[in-house]
């Protein structure tokens, strides 16, 4: 069972490496979002320092949805999805492996870029550490929730926007606790551990539920 997981993971990583650019694209989009915000809210350093974690989180959320609509579409088009239905390995595990590969190639580069972009928003060392820690804990949930939207829209030619519309409302709890934990890292009334523990719990719940929801959607094709 675990070897089937590794098989899909390796195959996806290999395909992503040969296509190339998926990580760069997400990071550049992330950079654009973070860069345009000061133009909108003004270059006041104190304001940016205060809302910086929120800007980074919203940007990471939008950037991580980029490309998620293709999660199952390529497999549906080339016939691989039909073969996944006929394999011993449960479809849920295949979904999980695909999400793991997508997170590694798309969300992990965002996490790595976040400290650099945080410097542009007047974030000090502790705030940067808080943003990185919450992104590491929270972005897997974003990928897993997005997978439900991607599975539900897999047969639609232009399902990207619909996928985002389906997934975004479900990501709100992750965003709330991600931002509050990141903001709590630099002080405040709430200790960092409280919202961070809830954020971790949200990721674990998505890990347990989303593969089943996405696989159920894929079975309805």
């Amino acid at each position: 069972m675990s070897s089937a997981f590794a098989l899909i993971l390796l195959r996806e990583l290999r395909v992503a490496r040969r296509i190339g650019g998926s990580a760069t694209m997400g990071v550049v989009f992330f950079l654009c979002l973070v860069t345009i915000t000061p133009f909108a809210v003004g270059p006041d350093p104190n304001l940016l320092a205060r809302i910086g974690p929120a800007i980074l989180w919203i940007s990471a959320l939008l950037a991580s949805l980029l490309g998620l609509d293709r999660l199952f579409q390529a497999d549906a088009e080339d016939g691989s999805l039909d073969q996944f239905h006929l394999a011993h390995t449960p479809l849920e595990l295949a979904v999980l492996a695909k999400c793991a590969a997508h997170w590694t190639t798309s969300s992990l580069p965002l996490v790595a870029a976040a400290p650099v972009l945080g410097l542009m928003l007047q974030q000090d060392g502790l705030a940067l550490a808080g943003v990185v820690a919450t992104l590491v804990a929270g972005t897997p949930a974003l990928t897993l929730i997005g997978a439900i939207g991607a599975a539900a829209t897999v047969t639609l030619r232009r399902g990207g926007l619909l996928m985002a519309l389906l997934a975004l409302p479900l990501t709100i709890p992750v965003l709330i606790f991600g931002v509050s934990a990141a903001a709590a890292a630099t002080g405040g009334t709430v200790p960092f551990a409280t919202p961070f523990a809830i954020l971790c719990a949200l990721t674990l719940v998505s890990l347990a539920l989303c593969p089943f929801a996405a696989a159920a959607a894929l079975r309805q094709l």
Binding site: I8, R11, A74, E77, D78, G79, D82, Q83, H85, L86
Partner: protein
């Protein structure tokens, strides 16, 4: 000696988009037999194959497979459709390696190693080429090689001969004959002769009730 394979399809009805595409299809096959499903475009040939594989829900009827290792038909089935199941960025050998492991049912004695399967389909020189660079016929041959690298007794083939040249057709007909000789079953939707003398035929017409005669 394992018992022979029996596939029974009884009164199969399938609807797609609220329209009944298959009404009351019945037939039975035993190991070693091949069935050519024929009929005009839109007669429900592909629907029949997808329904047997479990990729489409059936409205009514029963499907039973006896004499196989697994009770679940899907796990004993190879399904080949218009989409080849090849990742364009991976080489032919990488694609086949993946499916050989992923679709394996543990019957490795009857599965061919990837290199052998490539030879059977005359793809050995193309093993290290990314699938994106293959012609339509070469892609089809790579997809057919998938049937050989992980043994499964029931082959459901949707237009398997599309885009194949005469030599490849002969090669694939031989592979189907070998599969039947090993006790496997082939069901192929086709407009052309399969190159199997003993193949039975199920003619699907439009709408009318039908069963195998």
């Amino acid at each position: 000696m394992k018992p022979a394979l029996h596939l029974h399809v009884e009164g199969l009805c399938v609807e797609r988009g609220g329209r009944r595409v298959l009404a009351n299809v019945s037939f039975a096959l035993v190991g070693g037999e091949a069935l050519a499903v024929t009929g005009p475009n839109g007669a429900g040939k592909s629907t029949l194959l997808r329904a047997i594989a479990g990729l489409l829900p059936k409205e009514a009827g029963t499907l039973t497979l006896t004499g196989a290792t697994e009770p679940d038909i899907a796990l004993e089935t190879h399904y080949l459709a218009h989409a080849d199941g090849l990742k364009a960025q991976l080489t032919v050998a990488e694609n086949l390696d993946f499916w050989a492991s992923y679709l394996s049912t543990g019957e490795n004695a009857r599965s061919l190693p990837v290199a052998e399967a490539l030879k059977v389909m005359a793809l050995a020189p193309l093993a290290e080429i990314p699938a994106a660079y293959l012609s339509a016929g070469q892609k089809r041959r790579a997809a057919l090689a998938r049937l050989l690298v992980a043994y499964r007794p029931l082959w459901l083939l949707d237009e398997p001969l599309t885009a194949l040249d005469a030599a490849s057709r002969a090669r694939f007909s031989a592979a189907m004959r070998d599969h039947c000789a090993l006790g496997g079953v082939v069901i192929a939707a086709t407009h052309e002769p399969l190159g199997l003398d003993e193949a039975r035929e199920l003619a699907l017409g439009k709408v009318a009730e039908r069963s195998l005669v």
